[in-house]
Symmetry: C2
Subunit: 264 residues, 2 copies
């Protein structure tokens, strides 16, 4: 029941009709007896600055979630950024302070790492191989470095994009070995697919599955299908597998904490 006392949250995106954020957060608010509501706001890039200016003035707005195409532009418009958001240059959640300031951060990577931990896997001290160099990969690279991996190899078809991520992350974690390499899991403990390969049934595997060994953990960020061809192949080779949905589940929790949407 929305009343005049209900705290307001939003997801801003364009297009908007496919987003699941309202369902996920409103269910969480309901479970937590939190008098808050999250609504979809469709805004094109040219309207973004006006919307953020207005958000600063909306006294009962707690914050917002953002996705395509706004993650980078919102980061540039925030008054303050968390480390992950600053390192990656993109955010997916913004908290509005009582004085109107907007504090953004990126939770894709923190959600992924929290997802690993929720399944009993601590990446600290592990040698990680990250396939892909898009926005999600960058966020995961940051979070893995922050979580204390022994080393991180970023592998991407376009090598320059992997190099860019390595340079960005190394600035924040200069002591951490961060390399650019090939999609070869040899001598790694944790293999993460952060490409979109696996979304479609006829996609090639992002790595050569015959190189996987039972000591490895293979993780996805793709949620549908739950068991991607890569995870199926990894399981067949005796690896531990980790589903994409854990990243989303934990990210929702982390964002709810961040935007102050867990109190009653």
């Amino acid at each position: 029941m929305i009343t005049g006392k209900t705290r307001l949250y939003a997801i801003i995106a364009d297009p908007i009709s496919h987003v699941r954020t309202p369902e996920v957060f409103n269910e969480l608010f309901s479970l937590n007896c939190c008098d808050a509501v999250l609504v979809p706001i469709q805004v094109a890039p040219e309207g973004l600055e006006a919307v953020l200016t207005a958000f600063r003035t909306m006294k009962n707005l707690g914050g917002f979630v953002t996705t395509v195409p706004h993650k980078t532009a919102v980061a540039a418009l925030c008054d303050e950024l968390g480390d992950a958001g600053r390192a990656i240059g993109a955010v997916n959640a913004v908290r509005r302070e009582a004085d109107g300031r907007l504090i953004g951060n990126m939770f894709d990577g923190a959600g992924f790492v929290a997802g690993l931990r929720s399944q009993g896997y601590d990446p600290a001290g592990r040698r990680a191989l990250l396939i892909g160099a898009g926005g999600a990969a960058a966020a995961i690279a940051f979070a893995l470095a922050e979580a204390g991996v022994a080393s991180l190899t970023v592998a991407n078809r376009t090598r320059s994009k992997a190099e860019e991520i390595a340079v960005r992350i190394a600035k924040y974690f200069p002591a951490r070995p961060i390399m650019v390499g090939n999609a070869d899991p040899t001598d790694h403990d944790l293999v993460i697919n952060a490409t979109s390969l696996g979304l479609r049934a006829d996609d090639p595997l992002p790595i050569d599955a015959t190189m996987l060994t039972p000591a490895m953990t293979v993780a996805e960020i793709i949620m549908k299908p739950e068991t991607t061809p890569l995870l199926a192949a990894a399981k067949a080779r005796g690896c531990t597998i980790h589903y994409g949905r854990h990243m989303l589940d934990e990210q929702v929790r982390l964002i709810a904490d961040f935007i102050g949407a867990t109190g009653s």
Copy 2:
């Protein structure tokens, strides 16, 4: 259930916690199977222009309702006004067109007249006495003139405010006799209290009830208490009485139609 497809509406006010608009409209949306949600937005006068600028860019925003202290300022910021809004210089509902333009209008008066009609009373051809000269009184004066009253007398303690209303309305209905007078119901068919007298138990009556006669209809816009001391006195004198809640009920319907929130 709010999804990415849900159409967005808002009530903007400051303070906001007392507004009942979200409950009233969200219940209406639910009854009409309309996939829409209305949320409270608290914005101070200094933030109003930024919020309206942002509203123009929000593609899934259908419109908004506004109340204290924004009715006059919003009218000035709209791209187009309906007659009542233009005449009074204040609006309480704004529709967002697909191209982002904001069309405002004032429904206080239209709601009052529709409320009379909903109870079988047509003000056309009646001699109306309107007590008060605030925003609600101005809106009701316009709507009564539009509805074709035989004459309208506006009575207010501060006479200049009544004169201002008479001048504003006369511009739109030059053929209608609109007078400024005293709170004397003699020779009137319809007496309307549009002051706040009656909200508190120890308020004096807005008119001398001994001058009421059984042929008169006495109407309130005060909703709580439902039977104000004026209505009680009018009933005791044999008048037909008309409750304040009818104005709100009909206004909600009219605003929902206006902002396009009745379709499915």
